[in-house]
């Protein structure tokens, strides 16, 4: 009896140790390759990056040099159009969820749909926008690419806006209402303004997410080897260019792909760190 008891106690301690070991091992197994990816990326990117990358257009195969100036400008234009569509609609949707629809069935349904929409593959967004915009227009265009990115931003912006607005203390809303301020004014100038730091970082996060999207651009923005700023024409984009160059057989193009990846990553890391900094510091300083 006593022996059995001791044996069981020993087994339990053993199981405890084994579980701890496995959890640590899992963490190492996950973190090590992830860090490896990151370090490798930064290394390859930084040796590949040079000034020409930002100032030159791609050169034909076989020539050395060139850059992705057209893709950087293209990405900026696509993201600009996307933000113009996605950010206002997303913020307005978030305002509805937090300020008007709180607790209603409609708001719950919208919140749920937004979360589900967030999980719809970007490639599906791409072909949907292709048939909605590209087919009626008759050709690929920067505009259609922007629409695809904008639609993808809406659910993210909407949900973060809602979450940030919910953090604004009720007392602040009451103070505004008690001054006889019209509701729309109180929402925009008081509630949204109080949560603005959080909302802006939420928008940046959505921006960073779509900045790296490739799949929805393949049949909308399409890509362009030359310089284009027109919304009605196919346009180059950084992630598209990385995709094409990565699968090419030329070392020079591989180099450019790594450089492009580094530029994208730096943009994204900046956005994510900023979001983390702002949310950890408390979005609403001083508001209790």
């Amino acid at each position: 009896m006593r022996d059995e008891h001791q044996l069981r106690a020993k087994l339990r301690t053993l199981a405890d140790g084994a579980a701890t070991g496995l959890a640590v091992l899992a963490t190492v197994l996950v973190v090590a390759p992830l860090v490896a990816i990151f370090v490798y990326l930064v290394y390859k990117g930084s040796v590949s990056l040079n000034w020409a990358f930002f100032t030159h257009n791609p050169v034909p195969v076989g020539e050395v040099g060139g850059g992705m100036a057209n893709a950087i400008v293209g990405s900026a234009i696509l993201l600009g159009v996307g933000s113009l569509i996605g950010i206002p609609i997303g913020i307005a949707g978030g305002i509805f969820l937090a300020e008007f629809g709180r607790g209603t069935k409609l708001a719950n349904a919208i919140r749920f749909t937004a979360d589900v929409l967030n999980g719809v593959p970007s490639i599906v967004m791409g072909i949907a926008v292709y048939s909605l915009v590209v087919v009626p227009q008759g050709h690929f265009s920067a505009f259609s690419g922007g629409v695809a990115l904008g639609i993808m931003m809406i659910p993210t912006v909407c949900r973060t806006t809602e979450e940030m607005l919910l953090m604004v203390p009720h007392a602040v809303r009451e103070a505004a209402l008690a001054l006889g301020v019209p509701n729309w004014r109180s929402v925009l100038s008081i509630t949204v303004r109080t949560a603005s730091a959080g909302i802006i970082t939420g928008c940046m996060l959505a921006f960073a997410r779509v900045a790296g999207e490739t799949a929805p651009l393949i049949f909308t923005a399409f890509g362009n080897v030359g310089w284009s700023e027109k919304l009605s024409e196919p346009i180059a984009a950084l992630p598209l260019q990385i995709y094409v160059y990565a699968l090419s057989p030329y070392d020079e193009w591989h180099r450019l792909a790594w450089a492009g990846a580094l530029v994208l990553i730096v943009l994204i890391v900046l956005a994510v760190s900023l979001v983390r900094y702002v949310t950890s510091r408390g979005v609403l300083k001083g508001a209790s």
Binding site: R12, A15, D16, A18, A19, T20, L22, A23, A26, T27, V30, V31, P33, L34, I37, F38, Y40, L41, K44, I89, G90, A92, I95, F100, G101, I110, F112, T113, V116, L117, G119, V120, P121, I123, V124, I127, A128, S131, C158, L166, M167, V168, P182, N183, W184, R185, A208, R209, A211, G212, E213, T214, I218, Y243, A246, H254, A261, L264, I268, R276
Partner: protein, 364 residues
């Protein structure tokens, strides 16, 4: 101040009390009093902005409803554009293949002769996604357990930050890394070892020297869905009230027993939700998979063989589809992907909500 004379709305004043007047400080100066009246009349003249409020309200409702609109638009467009393929193949599209009478072999995807079947892509999507889950789930849960229950405080924030960062890296960059690092690694070291020790199972055959294939896609997918599964698992685990942990510990349990009985058991529904959400990501993941799976519409038993997925074939062929039927077949694949991911995500969200609901993640 002239405006001071504007008549103020003063109706019948209640009579003042006859209480002894207490020594209150009188308003300091007369001009100030007049200024106030101007303000008062300005404010009284303002409308009640009922129209502006109503308009604003409806504008917000409209924008929120646009989320429904997007889903409906996507669905209707995909349905409309996949009609040709649906008319040509019907449900056969998803489970039958055209058998070439000359060679006797199945022709799954033949744009030249107009034979299209979703089978190899369904197969590829399922195989790569389940491989990814197989690799990612144990690791993700291990990481989540470590981070919530065992991790020393100083490590928690940086580790959580790293996982968060990885969730934000674009698919195409994972693909780039996979092409130049993962594929050679598998080709040179891992695959030969697998063939040597497990070749007899038939899952690892030695006929594809490229290093591309289902396994490669599964590995890169696993890396990509790890962060989301692990961060959601962490969320549901922290939602387990600490009283549950204490109750188990108070019975004399070891830490592992506490985690198993007090935490994992209570959080299991949410963890399943997190895993399903990860599955949803894996099913629809496009670029990285398209770059490493080999892109051939075949069904092979070997995990080292080339294959393709629904999203990968769309990415590869859509822009240069050879015929309307081809385009429509790709659209139908997209529609299937859309429906599947919506269902998978809806189930996952509901499971996660069931667990985290009622925790103060959003306090106002």
């Amino acid at each position: 101040m002239v405006i001071a004379q504007v008549p103020e709305i003063r109706f019948n004043q209640s009579q003042l009390l006859t209480e002894p007047d207490l020594p209150g400080e009188r308003p300091s100066a007369q001009p100030a009093q007049q200024e106030a009246s101007a303000i008062r009349s300005f404010l009284l003249a303002r409308g009640n902005s009922a129209w502006a409020d109503r308009g604003f309200h409806w504008l917000m409702v409209l924008c929120a409803l646009s989320i429904f609109g997007i889903v409906v638009l996507i669905a209707t467009e995909l349905v409309a554009r996949s009609r040709i393929a649906w008319g040509a193949f019907g449900l056969d599209f998803f489970y039958k293949a055209f058998i070439d009478t000359y060679t006797g072999k199945p022709m799954y995807w033949d744009p030249v002769n107009g034979h299209f079947s979703a089978l190899p892509f369904l197969y590829g999507t399922l195989v790569s996604s389940f491989l990814a889950l197989l690799l990612a789930v144990p690791l993700a849960i291990g990481v989540a357990v470590f981070l919530t229950e065992m991790c020393p405080g100083f490590l928690r924030a940086p580790l959580a930050f790293i996982t968060e960062l990885l969730a934000a890296i674009p698919s195409v960059i994972y693909g780039l890394w996979a092409v130049f690092v993962l594929v050679p690694l598998l080709r040179e070291y891992i695959n030969p070892a697998l063939i040597k020790s497990f070749g007899w199972t038939g899952f690892f055959s030695n006929d594809n020297p490229t290093g591309l294939g289902f396994l490669t896609a599964g590995v890169i997918l696993a890396i990509m869905i790890l962060p989301i599964i692990s961060s959601l698992t962490r969320e549901v685990m922290t939602a387990v009230p600490s009283s549950q942990r204490e109750a188990v510990l108070a019975l004399g349990a070891t830490r592992w027993e506490m985690i198993r009985m007090g935490v994992l058991r209570n959080a299991r529904i949410g963890i399943v939700g997190a895993v399903i959400l990860g599955l949803g990501r894996a099913l629809g993941e496009t670029m990285a998979v398209a770059m490493v799976i080999g892109n051939s519409p075949e069904i092979q038993r070997s995990l080292l063989a080339n294959g393709s997925t629904m999203s990968a074939v769309i990415a590869n062929e859509f822009a240069e589809a050879s015929s309307d039927l081809h385009l429509s077949a790709l659209m139908e694949l997209g529609l299937a992907l859309f429906i599947v991911t919506i269902i998978v995500n809806a189930i996952a969200r509901m499971l996660v909500w069931m667990v985290t609901r009622g925790t103060p993640s959003s306090v106002h």
